[in-house]
């Protein structure tokens, strides 16, 4: 990287730092400092007046100074949150990437490609809150004869009993994930479509001439070639899903067994006023994401080597 810079452009030593200073200062205050402060707070009690170990009660297990982490890792509500986050990751990531790939491949074959892509992509422009309202209306459950929610109207049309989608523990997390899929498929589709366009048409044509059908061409030639992009999309989606908050907050508030990690953090901080527990949850969250950070830097260094 450095070797690209011509010698005539060298400058006094402090000049680069003048350009960097505003950005570095703001990032230090808003990202680096809070990181360390959160780590510290996670070891403190709920009023930050003493270490967390004072919250221990004698007849319960105690993790000493890590008492908040006992809550963050073993409490029933956090267990629900972990299980739900895993559900979110498995279902939402596979659905968005799968559907995104499907639509990208199909749209490549039609003339109204750009319109179709815009339609799928449009939910990305909407806030989670707006999407929450849209889907709460779709899922609406009327106790009487009339169903104004589209889904229950369909259920009724097929002779079924209307379902309260958002309070029924069998369906509600899945119902929330559908909203996430609706919003994020466009993102996966756009990136995968760009990758597909970069696949050399000559190789595809050669395979077709050799008698390979579309199915084989897709799995044996297309997918291996765009595999690096798929990995990137999957990583990005996993990070996004881990941080999911707004959908749950707006649609169920984390009730009826739909709790997720980020919503629990918010509840602990701003409803229960326990910064210790909230910080511990935040630390757990960042610990889960650290592999993704390392992966990102690693990938970046690889790309720089190619450059």
């Amino acid at each position: 990287m450095a070797k690209n810079i011509p010698g005539i452009m060298r400058q006094k030593r402090f000049v680069p730092w003048m350009y960097l200073l505003p950005a570095l200062f703001v990032m230090a205050v808003f990202i680096i400092y809070p990181g360390f402060n959160t780590l510290f707070l996670s070891l403190r009690n709920d009023t930050n007046s003493d270490w967390a170990s004072v919250d221990c009660s004698p007849d319960e297990p105690c993790w000493g100074i890590f008492e908040n982490f006992r809550y963050a890792l073993t409490s029933p509500i956090m267990k629900t949150a972990f299980i739900n986050n895993i559900k979110w990751i498995v279902i939402m990531v596979s659905a968005t990437v799968g559907m995104g790939l499907l639509i990208a491949v199909l749209a490549d074959h039609v003339r109204y490609e750009s319109i179709a892509k815009s339609i799928i992509f449009l939910p990305m422009a909407i806030s989670f809150v707006g999407a929450g309202v849209i889907w709460k209306f779709m899922y609406n459950f009327g106790s009487g004869q009339v169903q104004i929610g589209f889904l229950n109207a369909i259920v009724r049309a097929f002779g079924g009993e209307p379902v309260s989608w958002l309070t029924e523990p069998k369906f509600n997390t899945l119902a929330l994930i559908v909203v996430g899929v609706w919003m994020w498929t466009g993102f996966c589709m756009t990136i995968l479509a760009a990758a597909i366009r970069n696949v050399s048409t000559e190789i595809l044509e050669a395979a077709r001439v050799d008698g390979a059908n579309e199915w084989i061409v897709f799995w044996k030639i297309m997918v291996p070639q765009i595999m690096p992009t798929i990995t990137v999309v999957v990583t990005t989606m996993v990070i996004n899903v881990l941080k999911i908050f707004d959908v749950v907050y707006v649609m169920t508030g984390g009730n009826y067994g739909t709790e997720v990690i980020a919503n629990r953090l918010y509840t602990e901080m701003y409803a229960n006023y326990d910064p210790g527990r909230a910080s511990a949850i935040a630390i757990v969250l960042i610990a889960i994401i650290i592999p993704a950070i390392i992966f990102n830097i690693h990938r970046f260094n690889e790309q720089e080597a190619v450059r």
Partner: protein, 394 residues
């Protein structure tokens, strides 16, 4: 020739069916919201939005029970004209109607050969009669939901009807001042703008400086500093909320615009610098070299060369940052709260407090979606470019 074209079309048919089907599924939820936001409140709760062009509630029952004698329009019998409001007002409840249907008229049973409707059917007939008599006449589409949402109206009728009759609640003025009502979406719209515009400009400005240094200046630690930046991009926002809100409490920045601008700047920067550096770094070296040979300083090269050349990157960055901030709920909830409610905050509040006030909720949601959708559709090219530059090309 013709045959082969037909076969090609037939081969492509499954693709079209799947793709168009998916597009319809994707559009349907938004369409439902849009249609509902323009319907009168009674209609929203009586029938699904997809029935908008079908006959009103009670039409079927009226046709089978009443039309044989009273006629399709309800005024075939002058003595018992069902479009007469005075007559309909006698039947405010369905059991009134039923008891009158059960009683005899001049020695003959009212319904003669036709069976008397059950309670549900009678209620539907009644609501249809109120419609054709003009007591409860309402249009298919109305703007009143939007007016109510913008002005923060929470009463039982509509903002305009209350204002006409002079019975508005104490905090409504019935003029442009109501757009500033703290409960309304009008004020929230301006708050959202006040949050989003500076929070878009400041980080892009800072990022351009930093990105220039990263691409065209040489200094120690450049490599690892930039690698750190790549890592910072995925740091979850949640982790920083607690320390920053404590810091803000000490500085008195909680609930101020300045506080939220700075926060969004901090969080927008890693991605913004990353994207700008990728763009600036890919500009041809010769341009900068010759500028330098001509005696240009770094400052001149930055202002006269780097900034004008990177307009496409600046555009994608601006769209990204703007949409992200406009749509954000969490940061607004924590740092602004009810002090300066933004659109997302307002809707979030309405969802929890109104429950099923769908006429207000759908209109409010659409008010908040309109601007990002326009921005997105108009500038989609830049949006997609930014997305690709950020996550694939690197």
């Amino acid at each position: 020739m013709k045959k082969s074209r037909f076969f090609r079309w037939l081969e492509g048919l499954p693709i079209h069916i799947v793709l168009i089907g998916l597009c319809l599924i994707w559009l349907l939820p938004t369409l439902g919201l849009l249609v509902t936001s323009f319907r009168p409140v009674q209609d929203i709760n009586e029938t699904g939005w997809w029935t908008i062009f079908s006959k009103p509630k009670g039409y079927e029952e009226f046709q089978s029970y009443c039309a044989p004698c009273h006629g399709e329009s309800g005024n075939a019998l002058p003595s018992a004209d069902l479009t007469n409001p005075d007559l309909v007002n006698n039947y405010r409840r369905s059991f009134n109607l039923l008891s009158s249907l059960n009683s005899e008229i001049s020695g003959q049973p009212h319904m003669e050969s036709i069976a008397v409707p059950d309670e549900q059917a009678a209620a539907n007939i009644l609501s249809y009669m109120r419609r054709i008599s003009g007591i409860d006449d309402r249009p298919i589409f109305t703007f009143s939901n939007y007016i109510d949402a913008l002005s923060g109206y929470r009463g039982r009728n509509t903002y305009s009807s209350d204002c006409e009759s002079g019975q508005q609640s104490l905090d409504l003025f019935c003029d442009a001042r109501d757009l500033a009502n703290p409960r309304g979406m009008g004020r929230a719209f301006f708050n959202s703008l006040a949050v989003a515009i500076p929070s878009t400009i400041i980080p892009i400005l800072f990022a351009s400086f930093a990105a220039y240094a990263f691409s065209w200046m040489d200094f120690r630690g450049r490599q690892w500093l930039f690698a750190l930046l790549v890592g910072l991009q995925v740091v979850p926002l949640q982790m920083t909320l607690i320390p920053i809100s404590r810091l803000y409490a000490q500085l008195g920045l909680n609930g101020t615009f300045l506080g939220i601008w700075l926060f969004h700047t901090g969080f927008g920067l890693p991605y913004a610098i990353y994207l700008m550096r990728n763009f600036l770094g890919s500009l041809p070296r010769e341009i900068f070299e010759s500028a330098y040979l001509d005696g240009a300083s770094h400052w001149t090269a930055f202002i006269k060369l780097a900034i004008p050349l990177s307009v496409p990157a600046l555009a994608s960055l601006a769209i990204f940052q703007f949409l992200w901030i406009w749509n954000d709920l969490l940061v607004a909830l924590v740092f602004l709260g009810g002090e300066h409610p933004v659109l997302t905050y307002q809707i979030g509040n309405m969802v929890t407090s109104l429950g099923s006030g769908w006429h207000l909720l759908t209109a409010a949601a659409f008010i908040s979606m309109a601007l990002p959708m326009i921005v997105f559709l108009a500038l989609q090219r830049y949006f997609v470019r930014g997305l690709l530059a950020g996550s694939v090309k690197g």
